[in-house]
């Protein structure tokens, strides 16, 4: 079971409330899809500028593995107030710890409600459906 202290997008990003801000990352499933389980397969990650305003669902960055370039979508609307600078140089962190050290951006959200996103149970059900 994925962590139930956060919510999820069907495109495999997670959002977690942290005080009045929202941390955003990608799930272990997304990492596995992109890297085939080999952390060296993740090659680039383009992160946004701090201060950028994003809409809910808007692409805020891009990640490339050996075999695919994929968009990174923001689960909430708001202002990007911090990026995890370590990720661009150390993509292996995403494979090692996608839930904590592998956060990508911190957003000051327009609303702290995450009710529009999937809870862990619904996200698990989505994955189960896509794997069968």
């Amino acid at each position: 079971m994925r962590p139930d202290d956060r919510r999820y997008l069907p495109s495999h990003e997670w959002a977690k409330l942290d005080d009045e801000t929202v941390l955003v990352g990608i799930t272990d499933f997304a990492v596995k899809e992109l890297s085939s389980g080999n952390e060296g397969d993740l090659v680039y990650c383009d992160m946004p500028e701090v201060g950028r305003l994003v809409a809910q669902g808007e692409t805020f960055g891009e990640i490339e593995s050996v075999k695919a370039v994929a968009d990174l979508n923001c689960p909430v609307a708001g202002e990007i107030i911090e990026i995890n600078a370590e990720i661009e140089e150390h993509l292996e962190v995403l494979s090692q710890d996608p839930w904590r050290k592998g956060w990508l951006i911190r957003v000051k959200p327009e609303s702290t409600s995450l009710d529009h996103l999937l809870d862990a149970e619904a996200y698990e059900a989505l994955l189960e459906k896509s794997e069968h």
Binding site: S11, E33, L34, S36, V43, Y44, D46, T59, E62, E64, S65, V66, K67, A68, V69, A70, D71, S130
Partner: protein, 242 residues
């Protein structure tokens, strides 16, 4: 049986080629296979590549940057490009990314066999086409790449955006002087042409997807959008963005 559109283009301007693929990715267009060439010969950079890391940029007539990843490719008269575009929940992409490669590459291998090229997945084999510090797609490989006679002969890369997939493939029919040591049909003893391998690809994709491919032309609206989108692929700030 599903239906796919087949756009077979003559050698097109590089910006228009890239603009068409992006327009198909960005729309809710029906599943589409494009088979195309390039004029003039063009070097395409992978989306994240650094311009300075690809010495061959100095020797190609034109340089563009793709929106798919991977390494640089020289598209000349001896190369056939294919582009599959559809929703990510449709075959062959209704599975994991590695499995989608395995499916598509299985069809490509079948098509190559039909034109006399005995190709296979690289798996763990060592290749004679590997080179360092060229930045070229065909000089690096993964186990899922298609090879013959220990040389990489097909390049492949995907872009995933908003629930859709663009899958670029590149087949080396003849050798390019910018891609020393890679596979060609000649080394496999095949005299097949780009047109023949294109026709074989369509048949193989039809079997893979249980689909009927119907030849069509891009609409004037799609072409106009492709021209608009295509301009940036040749623009210096995009080509040299890294």
């Amino acid at each position: 049986m599903s239906r796919w559109r087949l756009f077979e283009s003559p050698d097109l301007d590089p910006g228009l080629n890239m603009g068409l693929d992006e327009a198909l990715l960005e729309s809710d267009a029906p599943p589409t296979l494009r088979l195309y060439g390039w004029s003039p010969d063009t070097l395409s950079l992978g989306y994240f590549q650094r311009f300075a890391d690809v010495p061959a940029t100095r020797r190609a007539s034109r340089v563009v940057r793709r929106i798919t990843g991977g390494g640089a490719i020289h598209h000349d008269a001896g190369e056939l490009t294919f582009a599959l575009t559809c929703a990510a929940h449709e075959p062959p992409y209704d599975t994991s990314i590695p499995e989608s490669y395995a499916r598509v590459h299985g069809a490509v291998i079948e098509a190559l066999a039909a034109v006399g090229v005995d190709a296979k997945l690289r798996d763990e084999d060592a290749l004679a086409s590997e080179r360092t510090a060229t930045g070229m797609c065909f000089h690096a490989s993964t186990p899922l790449d298609i090879v013959w006679l220990a040389r990489k002969g097909v390049g492949s890369a995907q872009r995933r955006r908003a629930g859709r997939v663009l899958h670029h493939g590149s087949i080396k029919v003849h050798a390019s002087e910018l891609e020393e040591g890679v596979a060609s049909f000649a080394v496999a003893g095949s005299t097949a042409t780009r047109g023949q391998v294109g026709a074989a690809l369509v048949s193989a994709f039809e079997r893979l997807l249980d689909a009927r491919f119907e030849s069509a032309e891009p609409s004037p609206e799609l072409l106009a959008e492709a021209r608009e989108r295509g301009a940036r692929y040749l623009a210096k700030d995009f080509v040299r963005r890294r």
